[in-house]
């Protein structure tokens, strides 16, 4: 059985004849679409809620230690634990940064995530043997190395090799009373621009 409009057209809209049966068909489809949309709206809102939540930005200065305890040319990882509200749970979140002492007064603090795909990188001394993902050749000097895809960064954060699209991300630095402070931030990865998450 196929669609056959057995009844006669009852009205003319814009010159086109339209049968009662066809009109009711369109009305049914239209009303169903409206009802479906009304039901779908809160459900989609429910699902998309994380996109619509307000951004939570960390603004606290975190103390990393006495400036005199850091050695020039020897990057140091500083770790601490912070707490944040995740949904309905107060979660503890481990944090880490790499501190590079350039000279007695100037410091660089790096976010601990590789700018390629957020793996953790580490500092390798000159000539220090270590595993690589693809057997890439390592520079003949100390370097930051990301083990996931052989990303290599210089001590100032510039890319020496591998897939990272931009240098390591620097964080704000403040020295007060001989102590080093930073504000922890995360950034989007995989792109050439440094954009805060």
């Amino acid at each position: 059985m196929s669609f056959e409009w057995k009844d006669k057209p009852v009205s003319r809209w814009g010159g086109e004849p339209i049968s009662r049966r066809r009109f009711l068909g369109y009305a049914t489809i239209g009303l169903s679409a409206i009802i479906s949309g009304l039901v779908a709206l809160p459900l989609i809102g429910n699902l998309a809620s994380p996109i619509l939540q307000k951004k939570k930005v960390e603004t606290k200065w975190v103390e990393l230690g006495k400036t005199e305890d850091f050695k020039v040319g020897q990057p140091t990882m500083v770790q601490w634990v912070t707490s944040r509200m995740e949904g309905w749970v107060m979660e503890t979140a481990p944090r880490a940064v790499w501190v590079v002492k350039q000279d007695g007064e100037n410091f660089t603090v790096f976010n601990p995530r590789c700018t390629h795909l957020t793996c953790s990188y580490s500092w390798k001394l000159k000539g220090e043997p270590h595993q690589t993902a693809y057997g890439s050749t390592m520079p003949d000097k100390g370097h930051f190395f990301c083990p996931c895809h052989d990303g290599v960064f210089d001590i100032d954060g510039t890319v020496l090799g591998g897939p990272p699209p931009r240098p390591l991300d620097t964080l704000p630095v403040k020295i007060e009373g001989g102590r080093l402070f930073t504000i922890y931030k995360d950034f989007r990865v995989g792109i050439a621009e440094k954009i805060e998450l």
Binding site: S2, L41, L43, G45, L47, W88, V89
Partner: protein, 223 residues
């Protein structure tokens, strides 16, 4: 292009024919409320089914945030209501729909009873309908515990203590239902599993029979 893709699928599955057969299915005149205003009573089952669909959809999305653990159940429900976009609405539809479906299913059963629609040849569908009523009540009972507030905790404590009065095996039944001697973490997660897993599976199966038999046997005339 789209037309060709559709035609290729339709040639193999005859979707258009199936759909138009359903849409062209003649409905007896005596159930048409436009001709017989009192025929609105025939809508109760359909309304119950529609509320059931709403409950299924909203429940699906509540599961995204709800955690069936004493540590998180209450807080995750509060989070849905206060923080999730339109979460109050999704939860509200589920909350009110839960009461509405019980009312509609009971009205539907009363309609069938007073029309004598359960008689030969529709006895099987009456039996399936009674099972469906029990399933809906089981949904209500298990869902009531999930918000994990004082009301749901004590309602479940009182409700489950009834099974302990079964002769001989009452205490074992109680432990089976509660997953222990008291209502606690084990009770919560098993009620959750029953609510979102076991019952929907049984419901869909029985509902399939229910609808199939209505279509096969047609809608009865009132006495």
């Amino acid at each position: 292009m789209l037309r060709q893709i559709y035609d290729a699928i339709d040639k193999r599955l005859a979707i258009k024919k199936t759909v138009s057969d359903q849409l062209d299915h003649p409905v007896p005149e005596h159930v048409n409320p436009l001709k017989h205003p009192s025929a609105f009573v025939y809508c109760f089952g359909g309304i119950a089914a529609f509320i059931g669909l709403l409950l299924f959809l909203t429940g699906l999305f509540l599961v995204i945030y709800y955690v069936p653990s004493p540590d998180h159940a209450y807080d995750s429900v509060q989070y849905i209501i206060n923080n999730v976009t339109l979460g109050w609405l999704v939860r509200g539809i589920h909350y009110w729909g839960a009461s509405a479906i019980v009312i509609m299913v009971v009205l539907h059963a009363l309609r069938v009873y007073f029309h004598g629609a359960y008689k030969n040849p529709r006895e099987m569908n009456w039996v399936v309908g009674v099972l469906l009523l029990l399933i809906v009540l089981a949904f209500s009972f298990t869902g009531y515990l999930l918000p994990w507030n004082q009301r749901s905790y004590w309602a479940t404590t009182v409700g489950t203590s009834m099974v302990s009065l079964v002769p001989f095996i009452g205490n074992h039944l109680l432990q089976l239902v509660r997953g222990g001697n008291e209502v606690g973490a084990v009770t919560l997660v098993r009620f959750y599993a029953i609510h979102i897993g076991f019952l929907p599976a049984i419901l869909l199966l029985l509902l399939g029979f229910h609808f199939f038999m209505v279509r096969k046997q047609g809608i009865s005339r009132p006495l």
